[in-house]
């Protein structure tokens, strides 16, 4: 069966510091991968998605970037965090090659920028 991991689970970082959140998927090959952010009391906003190694699409211009160095690894980064980057970050995967299909979510990372 497939599983998805995210770490760390929680993170407190000062403004201006760098960020690296990691997501890995097990039990599937060539998945589509996604990063979402959920701000307090709001729905989910898609940040990035990837259909293959090195292929990243950005949905919203912002202070963040994403990379996919391996087939089942997806990394969210920032060089300098802003207060507005605080939120709950969720990674998700879906089966490859199909656009209209459900996504499966990881447990999330709670980021607080102070």
């Amino acid at each position: 069966s497939q599983t998805i991991h995210q770490w760390p689970a929680t993170l407190v970082q000062p403004v201006g510091s760098p960020l690296s959140l990691e997501c890995t998927v097990e039990g599937t090959s060539n998945p589509n991968l996604y990063w979402y952010r959920q701000a307090a009391g709001r729905g989910l906003q898609l940040l990035f998605y990837s259909v293959g190694i090195g292929q990243i699409s950005s949905e919203v211009p912002q202070n963040l970037s994403a990379s996919r160095p391996q087939d089942r690894q997806f990394i969210l980064s920032s060089k300098k965090l802003l207060l507005s980057d605080s939120g709950f970050y969720l990674c998700a995967w879906s089966n490859p090659g199909l656009a209209r299909i459900e996504q499966y979510f990881g447990p999330g990372t709670r980021l607080t920028v102070t």
Partner: protein
């Protein structure tokens, strides 16, 4: 463009009574629709999905939803609420033909279950 409107930000029911969480969608294409549940500080779990097969969809934990094209609705129901159902619920739409491999989420409905 696709969008989802969840008509209630909060719903409160008593344990053992029916649950109705309302969702309306807008889509240029024939959509797929999903309901996800999120417990506090957890990831999202898929409850059920509609992908142009049967219009009445049954999901996990006794939930079901009915796709009504004429009303552009996909309301989530459960005959009898349980305390463990207290969570946030998201209605979600996906389109096949845009090439954009992403989901559009509603703003969520927080379900409270009173003892």
């Amino acid at each position: 463009a696709q969008s989802v409107t969840q008509l209630d930000s909060h719903v409160s029911v008593s344990e053992g009574t029916p649950v109705l969480l309302r969702c309306n969608y807008s889509s240029s294409y024939s959509p797929s629709l999903f309901w996800y549940v999120q417990h506090p500080n957890k990831g999202l779990q898929l409850l059920l999905k509609y992908t142009s097969a049967a219009t009445l969809v049954k999901g996990i934990n006794g939930f079901e939803a009915e796709f009504k094209k004429s009303e552009t609705s996909f309301h989530l129901t459960k005959p009898s609420a349980h305390m463990s159902d207290a969570a946030e619920y998201f209605c979600v739409v996906s389109e096949a033909d845009t090439g954009r491999r992403a989901l559009t989420f509603g703003s969520g409905t927080r379900l409270q279950v009173q003892p």
